[in-house]
C-alpha cells in the first residue's frame, strides 16, 4: 500500500511540474523536440500536448489489451470517431460546443457497443483481425468523403467560430490547449485507475487469465469484455476530440490509419501493458522520439551524412520499429517490467527486509 501512495504522490508532483512548463521560458539546447530551444516555445508545448493525448489513449487501450488480454487492432476507429464527429458537428453543421461534445459521446457509445458486440463474438487472433477490418472500413469511409462531410484526403479543418477564444487554434492559445491535453490525460488516468483497481477490474484480469473460471463463478465474461471495449473506446474518442482542437485538421492518414493503431500498440508495449504508468511512459517516449527525430532529420547538417546513415535515421518509423523489436525480444514487460525487475533485484540484496513468503 505504501507503494501505491508513493506512486500517486509522484504522479501528482509530475502533473504539477508539467502544468508549470508553459510558464518556464528556460533555454535548453539539443533535447527539445521543437525548432526553438526554449522550454515553453510553441513547438515544444505542442509535442508535449501530443504526448499527453496519446498517453491517455494508450492508457484506455491498455484496459483492453493489458488488463483484459484482448488484442484489439481498432483503437483508431474510436479515436477517429472522436476527431471526425466533433469536427463535423462544429465545422460542417455549426453546432455549439456542448452539443458537439454530446453527439461525439453518443456516437462513440453506440458504435462501441455495436462493433464490440460483433467483434467480441470471436476470441483471440480472430478478434484482432475483425477489429482491424472495422478500423479499415472506418478509414475507407472517412477517406471516401461521403456527402462531403469528412473532406476525404484533403482533410477537414476545424472551424473556430463556435469555439471559446481560449481553445481556438491560434498559436497564442497553444498554452491553453496544452493544459487541456494535460487535464484530459489526468482524467483518463483517473478513470482507468478507478476501473482497474475496482472489483470490475479484477474480473477483467480474471478474464485474461482464465475465461472459463470466470464463467464458473457465474459471471458473464462477454459483458465485462464489452464494458472494457466501451470504456477504452470512450477514452480514445476523448483523445480524438482534444487532438482535433490541438492540431486543427483531420486527415485520414493521421487519425484513422492502421499505422496509428500500431503506434498505440507500440506505445503500450514499450511502456509495459497492464501497469498503471507504463503506457504513459511508452507514449511519451514514442511521441517525443518521433517528433525529435523528425526535427533532427530536417536540420541542414543532416543532409551531408552518407546515405547509409541518413536514410535509416531520417525515418522515425524505422528507428521506432527497430527499438520496438528489440524491446519485444529483450525487455519483456517494457519500461514497467524493467523497473519491476530492477526493484526486485535491489530488494533481494537488502537482507534487512524479510522476503515475502509463499510465492518465491
Amino acid at each position: 500500500m505504501r507503494g501505491r501512495a508513493l506512486g500517486i504522490t509522484l504522479g501528482a508532483a509530475l502533473v504539477a511540474l508539467l502544468a508549470l512548463v508553459p510558464l518556464i521560458g528556460l533555454h535548453v539546447p539539443w533535447v527539445l523536440p521543437g525548432t526553438v530551444d526554449v522550454v515553453n516555445a510553441t513547438g515544444t508545448l505542442e509535442v508535449l500536448a501530443l504526448c499527453f493525448i496519446f498517453a491517455g489513449v494508450a492508457l484506455g487501450y491498455d484496459v483492453l489489451f493489458g488488463y483484459t488480454g484482448l488484442l484489439s487492432l481498432g483503437p483508431v476507429t474510436f479515436f477517429g470517431t472522436g476527431v471526425y464527429v466533433f469536427d463535423i458537428a462544429l465545422s460542417r453543421w455549426g453546432w455549439p460546443l456542448a452539443s458537439a461534445l454530446g453527439l461525439t459521446v453518443a456516437v462513440t457509445l453506440v458504435l462501441a457497443l455495436v462493433l464490440g458486440a460483433i467483434s467480441l463474438r470471436v476470441g483471440g487472433i480472430a478478434f484482432a483481425m475483425v477489429t482491424l477490418a472495422f478500423a479499415q472500413a472506418f478509414y475507407y469511409l472517412v477517406e471516401d468523403n461521403p456527402h462531403n462531410l469528412t473532406g476525404g484526403d484533403t482533410g477537414l479543418a476545424l472551424s473556430s467560430t463556435r469555439l471559446p477564444a481560449l481553445l481556438s487554434g491560434a498559436v497564442s492559445n497553444t498554452r491553453s490547449l496544452y493544459w487541456l491535453a494535460l487535464v484530459y490525460l489526468v482524467l483518463a488516468a483517473a478513470v482507468v485507475r478507478v476501473v482497474t483497481t475496482s472489483a470490475t477490474g479484477h474480473v477483467l484480469v480474471a478474464v485474461r487469465e482464465n475465461e472459463q473460471r470466470v464463467e464458473v463463478l457465474g459471471l458473464r465474461p462477454f459483458g465485462f469484455k464489452l464494458a472494457a471495449f466501451t470504456l477504452s473506446s470512450l477514452v480514445a474518442a476523448g483523445g480524438g476530440v482534444v487532438y482535433i482542437l490541438l492540431i486543427g485538421t483531420a486527415v485520414p492518414s493521421a487519425v484513422a490509419s492502421t499505422t496509428l493503431t500500431l503506434s498505440i500498440l507500440v506505445m503500450v508495449v514499450l511502456g509495459g501493458p497492464g501497469s498503471a504508468w507504463g503506457p504513459v511512459a511508452g507514449a511519451f517516449a514514442y511521441v517525443y522520439l518521433q517528433q525529435y527525430l523528425l526535427k533532427v532529420a530536417a536540420e541542414p547538417s543532416f543532409a551531408s551524412l552518407p546515405a547509409v546513415a541518413r536514410v535509416p535515421l531520417s525515418q522515425p518509423q524505422f528507428l521506432l520499429g527497430a527499438i520496438f523489436v528489440l524491446f519485444v525480444l529483450f525487455v519483456p514487460g517494457g519500461f514497467a517490467g524493467a523497473v519491476a525487475r530492477a526493484r526486485a533485484r535491489l530488494a533481494s540484496r537488502r537482507p534487512a527486509a524479510p522476503p515475502p513468503r509463499g510465492d518465491a
Partner: protein, 301 residues
C-alpha cells in the same frame, strides 16, 4: 452477358492474388498461432526484388525472359526474408504468441520505414512485357492477359500446395501440427523445422502475390505501402475461410474477390460510394462471423 463474364474473370484474378497472400498467412497461423503482420512486408519486398532485378537486366534478354526472372526474384526474396524472420525473430519467442505477433509488427514498421527512406513514398514502375496489357478475345469476351497470369498462378499454387500437404512427409507434419503440435513432437518430429518451412513457403507465395498485385491491379507500380494494403484483405480472407485452412482460404478468396469486384462495378459510381467495394468486404466478414464465428472451414486444413 459479356459484362458479367468479363467481371467474373477479373474477380477471379483478384481472388487468385488474395489466395496467394492469404494461404501462407493461414498456414503460419494454423501451425504456429502466429498472426504474421510481416506478411505485407514479404509481398512488398517481392515486388521490389522484381523491380530491382528487372530494371538492372540488359534489355537484350527480351521482355518475357526478364519478366520471368523478375517472378523468380519475387518468390526468392519473399522466401528468404520470411525464413530469416522465422529463424531470427520468431524462434527466440516460441511459447509467447502475443510477443511473436508484436515482433512481426515491429519488423513491418521498421522495414517499411526503411523502404520509404530508401525509395521514397512514390511508386516505381515495373518493366512489364506489352503482352500483359493486351487482351485475349473469346467471341464477345475481352479477357486481359494479366488476369490470365494471375489466375493461372493462383491455380498452380493451389494445386501444388494441396499436393505438397497431402503427399509429402513435411505436408503431413504440417497438417498434423495444425491439429496438435505437442503430439507431433512426442512422435519424435522436430516441429521447429516445419515452422521455418511454412514461413519460407508463405513468404514465397507472398512475394509472388506482391508482384502480381503490382502487375494486375496497380498499373505496374511498386510502392512501400502496397503490401500493408493487401494484407488487410488477406486477413479478412483468412478469417472468413477459417484460420489454418487452405481450402477455406481458397473459397474465401473467391468470395471476397467476387463481392469486391461486383459491388465496385455496380455501385461505386453512385455518389459517396467510391469505396463500396472495400466496405462490402468488411460487411461480408461481419455477416460470416455472425453466422459461423470460426469461419467457413474453421479447424480443417
Amino acid at each position: 452477358m459479356t459484362v458479367l463474364a468479363d467481371l467474373t474473370f477479373s474477380a477471379l484474378a483478384l481472388s487468385a492474388v488474395y489466395f496467394l497472400a492469404a494461404s501462407g498467412l493461414s498456414l503460419i497461423y494454423g501451425l504456429m498461432d502466429v498472426l504474421n503482420f510481416a506478411h505485407g512486408l514479404f509481398m512488398t519486398l517481392g515486388a521490389y526484388a522484381a523491380w530491382d532485378l528487372t530494371t538492372h537486366l540488359a534489355s537484350g534478354l527480351g521482355a518475357p525472359t526478364i519478366f520471368a526472372l523478375g517472378v523468380g526474384a519475387s518468390i526468392i526474396a519473399g522466401a528468404v526474408v520470411a525464413g530469416l524472420t522465422e529463424l531470427l525473430l520468431i524462434r527466440p519467442l516460441y511459447g509467447r504468441p502475443i510477443s511473436q505477433i508484436l515482433v512481426t509488427i515491429g519488423l513491418d514498421l521498421a522495414a517499411v520505414g526503411l523502404l520509404l527512406g530508401g525509395f521514397g513514398s512514390n511508386s516505381l514502375s515495373l518493366p512489364v512485357p506489352l503482352w500483359f496489357f493486351e487482351a485475349t478475345h473469346w467471341g464477345a469476351l475481352n479477357l486481359p492477359n494479366a488476369d490470365f497470369v494471375a489466375l493461372a498462378a493462383g491455380i498452380v499454387v493451389l494445386v501444388g500446395l494441396e499436393w505438397f500437404l497431402r503427399r509429402t512427409r513435411y505436408g503431413i507434419i504440417i497438417r498434423a501440427g495444425v491439429e496438435n503440435r505437442d503430439m507431433v513432437r512426442a512422435l519424435g518430429v522436430d516441429v521447429g523445422r516445419a515452422f521455418t518451412l511454412v514461413f519460407v513457403l508463405g513468404g514465397a507465395m507472398a512475394g509472388l502475390a506482391g508482384l502480381l498485385n503490382s502487375v494486375v491491379f496497380n498499373g505496374d507500380l511498386v510502392s512501400p505501402l502496397q503490401g500493408d494494403g493487401l494484407l488487410i484483405f488477406a486477413f479478412i480472407v483468412v478469417v472468413i475461410g477459417g484460420l489454418g485452412s487452405i481450402r477455406g482460404s481458397a473459397v474465401a478468396a473467391l468470395l471476397v474477390g467476387v463481392v469486391q469486384d461486383f459491388s465496385n462495378y455496380y455501385l461505386s459510381s453512385h455518389p459517396g460510394m467510391a469505396e463500396i467495394g472495400n466496405l462490402s468486404v468488411v460487411l461480408l466478414l461481419a455477416v460470416v462471423l455472425e453466422w459461423r464465428p470460426r469461419g467457413l472451414f474453421g479447424g480443417t486444413i
